[in-house]
């Protein structure tokens, strides 16, 4: 029973990690909280659902489609709500982007409501669910896909951040934007690419969450939003390992709490973890940038 819960939690945690990575990448290069990121995730789920429903897309196409779609939305958010706030030589203060991205949440969520309606809708299924039994626990095909795809994407991200030009540039900008400028790094371009990558990951997470919960709604962005922030506060803002590990931990804690405590307090655990780490080690488990 315990192992089963752990596996369920791990699968859920993978999706959380993908989402948290986006938050942490954006915080790393801009030092701001992008509240609209949760809605980007939601848009990913919506796009994937519609691709499967109306274009008979298979898993791969739905994945690529939602990632491209969310990439575009993410870039638009950066161009329209963040870029206009920057000015010469002065650093970006944290509150204005918070407000503009909050405005973007309002716009995005409402637009989606107008297009697909406000109710929770069933996410179309792609394959026959199969369970692989291992004695005292079982792993479903959904969970295998989620864990597989998540780890693949996280591995790709790791390689990209460590080896590519963008990755190195991003790490430089995250540490010291002014010096990055002086090294010839196109800071604005790097930020744009960071947004694109973060949003694509959110899109993938949207598809995976839709598949595992069999449902999606325009409100899932805000619902998951606070959890995303809680994870990066817990793991360390701007810290990629922190986002990955934090997401997995939250997933497992949530599922275990449902199994052993009341299910109605599940959503409060994210918040609890956040308060805990703020009181004990405010820079986060792995330290922030």
């Amino acid at each position: 029973m315990f192992v089963q819960q752990l596996i369920n939690g791990f699968a859920l945690g993978c999706t959380y990690s993908l989402l948290a990575l986006g938050y942490t990448l954006i915080f790393g290069v801009l030092k701001i909280l992008n509240i609209a990121h949760g809605d980007v995730f939601m848009v990913g789920a919506v796009i994937a659902a519609n691709l499967i429903l109306f274009a008979q897309a298979n898993f791969l196409i739905a994945l690529i489609g939602s990632m491209i779609g969310t990439m575009i939305v993410g870039i638009m958010i950066e161009r329209l709500t963040i870029r206009p706030l920057k000015s010469e030589g002065r650093p970006l203060l944290p509150l204005p982007p918070l407000i503009t991205t909050l405005g973007a949440v309002w716009v995005l969520q409402e637009l989606v409501i107008k297009i697909v309606g406000a109710q929770v809708q069933p996410f179309p299924s792609l394959y026959q669910e199969k369970n692989f039994n291992f004695g005292s626990f079982a792993v479903s095909s959904s969970q295998l896909i989620i864990i597989g795809v998540s780890f693949f994407l996280m591995f790709c991200l790791h390689v990209v951040v460590a080896k590519t030009k963008w990755g190195k540039g991003m790490r430089a900008v995250a540490e010291n934007a002014k010096t990055a400028c002086l090294l010839g790094i196109n800071v604005n371009g790097t930020i744009l690419i960071t947004f694109a990558v973060a949003s694509a990951l959110a899109g993938a997470a949207g598809l995976l969450v839709g598949l595992s919960y069999r449902a999606f709604s325009p409100f899932m962005g805000v619902e998951i939003g606070l959890k995303g922030f809680a994870i990066i506060v817990f793991g360390g803002m701007g810290n990629i390992w922190g986002a990955m590990v934090g997401g997995l931990i939250l997933g497992m804690v949530e599922i275990l709490s449902v199994g052993y405590l009341a299910s109605s307090f599940r959503d409060a655990f994210a918040f609890g973890l956040m308060i805990l780490i703020l009181l004990l080690k405010p820079t986060g488990l792995f330290g922030s940038h």
Binding site: G169, A172, K178, C181, L182, L183, I185
Partner: protein, 238 residues
């Protein structure tokens, strides 16, 4: 090579730089000396494109770079070594050097340069894989200079290279600068340590409250009474 014409830079309502003009020719070392807050870093950051000037023009290699984006300016070969070194601590020494060549595309030459640089800066070669936190102030300055050289600059701008360094380290830094001078690298040296700067440079400008008040050959400035009183008197302990 570099022409700064009548440049005005302000922070909000505060005018930091007022009508500054000077030029640098190939192979020269020009120094700008002045007290804290006189506007030296502002000028250098404006040339690098990090700040925008209200009025005036800046030309580099006959191109107008006044409105150019900072990363494009670096690609032209105008490289700044910032005040306080600004080493990237999340990268190793080696990676910092590689970052210096970020905007270059010639992979093979970059490899060659990396090897040359480590020959020239033996201290860095010893510590190449180490995190940068283990370097002393003087070693960090060497790393910053090496990193700047990795970009194969046409013009190297150094903002207060002696700041915060022990006298021995300052000696080493200036030995390196003199070495670069012999190799014909054009340098703009911004300094508070007027004596060292004027001894090394060919020409100098004195900056006070955002304006250039004196401009002459370095040798003459060293003998100038006003300069001696204001900037050289306090340098006795160097």
């Amino acid at each position: 090579m570099l022409e700064v014409n009548d440049v005005y830079v302000s922070y909000g309502h505060i005018d930091a730089v007022r009508g500054v003009s000077f030029h640098i020719m190939k192979g020269e070392i020009v120094t700008i000396i002045g007290a804290n807050g006189s506007g030296k870093t502002t000028i250098i950051n404006t040339i690098s494109g990090i700040l925008r000037c209200k009025k005036g023009t800046i030309q580099f290699l006959n191109k107008n770079i006044t409105q150019m984006a900072p990363h494009n300016i670096v690609q032209l070969g105008l490289v700044q070594i910032p005040e306080g070194r600004e080493i990237l601590t999340t990268l190793s020494v080696q990676e910092n050097l590689e970052m210096g060549a970020y905007c270059r595309k010639d992979k093979k030459r970059i490899q060659q340069d990396l090897e040359e640089i480590s020959l020239r800066f033996p201290v860095l070669r010893e510590r190449s894989k180490q995190p940068t936190g283990t370097l002393s102030g003087g070693e960090q300055q060497m790393l910053a200079i090496a990193r700047g050289l990795m970009a194969r600059p046409q013009l190297l701008m150094m903002d207060e290279p002696s700041l915060g360094l022990a006298p021995l380290a300052v000696e080493n830094v200036y030995q390196m600068i003199n070495q670069l001078k012999k190799e014909g690298i054009t340098i703009l040296l911004v300094e508070q340590n007027a004596k060292k700067a004027l001894l090394t440079a060919d020409r100098g400008c004195v900056l006070e409250s955002g304006k250039i008040v004196l401009s002459n050959d370095a040798a003459n400035l060293l003998l100038n009474d006003k300069v001696k009183e204001a900037y050289l008197g306090a340098e006795k302990q160097v």
